[in-house]
């Protein structure tokens, strides 16, 4: 789950970190009122994606009137596919230096990784490529944690002057928030040293592990809603992994690997898949709901049902599909390929109850479906 800047900063503030004063605003009028209370401000688009500055989504405003005009310009923009519905109106900071700090899950070391650079404000990939000497990284033993001594060791030799102490304290705080909230990523770019010597997060990017939301109930409500289509919302409500695509061949398969492969073969055969939907794992009993969902996409001209059951029993999945088929009575042609656990029973059911002969090779079933969709 991604958190917009304002939500990420709320999480930091709740954890006791000091963040700039700001207000979330949904209109130019609100922005003007906020700026009147705060003083000179920055008006920032709130979308769960990067590159806001480059897209014109961040503007300085010296007066309430300027704040209103900036908010007017930014609200309604689309950045990275997200429409901007709200802006954060935040006090302008007297910035002396800008740094970069992050804590993230690192697949290479299978551990948390703390990153810090004296070069803030630009993409970390760019920093790593152009100023590698400014970038420090430390893999953390998650059972021991990351304390002040670790932070000092990480920063050793960097030209930080007086800022070394508050920066070290900030890194320890960021690690604590990352751990406390099951973050995949907590990135502060820039982390600013202010003229008065304080170190504060000017931006905040927070991603929390979806698998841990059950134990992050106190902050889950602050997370950004994913931009889902109506069908994707329906899939979500059914606990099915459904992604709507623009093609015309509906795909129903079990397991993420097989479903991706089915889409690949549709594409290889010259067709375009109209969805990703897998009913593997515990979802294998949801064949009825799944088929209904796939067929609800108006673009679907033909359908591939491709099962390769390991844990998921193909007879159970096929039973669900057959039941839905009889209820919905769709007009699009369907092409089956069924193998693995329960295949004899599944093939017999499809043959007897739908009068359809499953293909032995999935490539053949898919080619036929692509042909039928033309």
């Amino acid at each position: 789950m991604n958190f917009e800047e304002h939500a990420g900063k709320s999480v930091l503030a709740r954890a006791g970190l000091s963040v700039p004063q700001g207000r979330l605003c949904a209109s130019a009028q609100e922005a003007e009122t906020a700026a009147r209370a705060i003083g000179p401000v920055v008006v920032k688009a709130q979308v769960p994606t990067g590159k806001r500055g480059k897209s014109g989504g961040v503007k300085l405003a010296a007066t309430p009137e300027e704040a209103a005009a900036s908010a007017q310009a930014i609200l309604g923009m689309e950045i990275g596919g997200f429409p901007v519905a709200r802006v954060l109106v935040e006090e302008q900071a007297a910035i002396a230096r800008e740094f970069y700090a992050a804590v993230l899950n690192d697949p290479a070391s299978r551990s948390p990784l703390v990153l810090f650079s004296t070069e803030g404000g630009m993409d970390i990939e760019e920093v790593a490529a152009t100023r590698p000497e400014s970038l420090r990284r430390m893999a953390v033993d998650i059972r021991k944690g990351f304390g002040p001594a670790d932070a000092r060791r990480l920063l050793l030799g960097l030209d930080l002057g007086e800022a070394a102490v508050p920066v070290a304290a900030m890194l320890v705080d960021l690690y604590r928030v990352y751990r406390q909230h099951d973050a995949e990523l907590l990135e502060i770019n820039p982390l600013a040293l202010l003229a008065d010597g304080r170190v504060v997060p000017l931006d905040c990017k927070l991603t929390v592990d979806d698998s841990a939301l059950y134990r992050q109930a106190d902050i889950a409500g602050l997370g950004a809603k994913e931009p889902l289509s109506a069908l994707e919302e329906r899939g979500r409500a059914l606990d099915l992994k459904y992604i709507e695509l623009e093609g015309n061949v509906g795909v129903l398969a079990n397991g993420a690997g097989l479903t991706m492969t089915t889409m690949d073969v549709v594409s290889h055969a010259g067709g375009r898949p109209s969805n990703f939907l897998e009913i593997g794992g515990e979802a294998y009993t949801k064949g009825t709901e799944a088929l209904d969902l796939v067929l609800s996409n108006p673009g679907v001209k033909s359908l591939v049902v491709n099962f390769c059951g390991a844990f998921a029993r193909t007879d159970v999945m096929a039973g669900g599909v057959i039941q839905a088929w009889k209820t919905l009575n769709p007009t699009v042609p369907v092409f089956f390929s069924i193998h693995g656990t329960g295949e004899d029973e599944a093939v017999r059911m499809v043959r007897e109850e739908l009068g359809i002969e499953p293909y032995d090779r999935m490539e053949d079933a898919i080619s036929a479906a692509v042909e039928a969709a033309r």
Binding site: I142, D182, E278, G280
Partner: protein
């Protein structure tokens, strides 16, 4: 990491519906299951084997070297660490959706105790004709036959499809190594490839990859060094970037983890990468014939 009949397998969560079903399947196929774990039913027996309160208790009473976990996500960390601290050589973690911070704690404990974790989110490992651990249809003769091709797959469903295609093309398997669909797994594609390269029962390797991460690129380093033929299929070519395709690990962000990067790395290392899984057996036949010719020429030269 290739499972043998001589391995002594402990089933954590043996009394649940899936634990029971798959324990029976494993036993029927030849796996040596020595016990199960369920603290509430310790002292009883299930599927003909004793139930212990913990993995440590199982280790003290007869012992085991491989554990397999039928454990829900919220309890997975404690179960894995119990098995690791008990001294398990290998922990096969089937559980999907374990919080990533818990997974990192599991890996840290495993590194300290010298335990190999397979998974999380794996469908398990199969040694056809001998035994299996996990939730693969080892018992389906159209999918698994004893043979000499080693198979590596993150995904159970796609692994099943690939094994089906191999058997259809006349190739049985020396081992199926399911490594799991999570972003932080204990046994990587490269680790599994190293095991198959070292295995005298394996003549050729089918490497099944997926978009996301960099495991295929890292494995390519070993592909370049081995004489064993390697064929590969990479899933996710048609998947849109920025979307998680079911497996948490299968996501492309920027250039990282892209299909082109993986295919390029494997091809440069000498693997044959096919467009569709159905082409794997023919690619394998061609490479194996070439390898046989090379070793024949080598013998003549000697």
């Amino acid at each position: 990491m290739i499972v043998r009949k001589s391995d002594r397998v402990l089933v954590q969560g043996i009394t649940g519906k899936q634990g029971t079903f798959w324990t029976e399947q494993m036993q029927a196929y030849g796996t040596t299951v020595v016990g199960g774990v369920n603290p509430k039913k310790a002292g009883q027996s299930h599927c003909g084997v004793p139930i212990f309160a913990t993995a440590k208790e199982a280790m003290a009473n007869g012992g085991f070297n491989v554990s397999v976990m039928f454990i829900p996500p919220a309890a997975a960390k404690a179960a894995a660490i119990d098995a690791i601290e008990a001294g398990a050589k290998t922990v096969v973690c089937l559980t999907e959706h374990i919080p990533a911070h818990d997974v990192m704690e599991m890996h840290a404990a495993a590194a300290e105790h010298g335990t190999r974790i397979i998974g999380p989110n794996t469908a398990g490992i199969v040694t056809p004709g001998e035994c299996f651990v996990g939730i693969m249809p080892a018992f389906n003769p159209r999918v698994f036959q004893p043979g000499r091709v080693g198979v590596i797959s993150r995904s159970g469903s796609l692994g099943t499809l690939v094994c089906l295609n191999l058997v259809r093309g006349g190739h049985g398997q020396s081992a199926f190594l399911g490594i799991g669909g999570d972003p932080m797994i204990g046994t990587t594609t490269k680790d599994a490839l190293a095991a198959l390269i070292d295995d005298p029962g394996t003549d050729a390797i089918a490497l099944v990859g997926e978009i996301g991460g960099s495991m295929e690129e890292e494995a390519a380093e070993l592909v370049a060094k081995t004489d064993k033929p390697v064929v590969s299929f990479i899933a996710g070519r048609a998947s849109p970037p920025g979307k998680k395709m079911g497996h948490a690990g299968a996501i492309v962000t920027g250039d990282r983890g892209s299909y082109a990067s993986k295919r390029g790395a494997l091809e440069r290392a000498g693997a044959v990468v096919v467009d569709v899984p159905g082409d794997l057996p023919a690619a394998l036949d061609a490479l194996m014939a070439e390898a046989a010719k090379r070793s024949g020429a080598q013998r003549l030269a000697d």
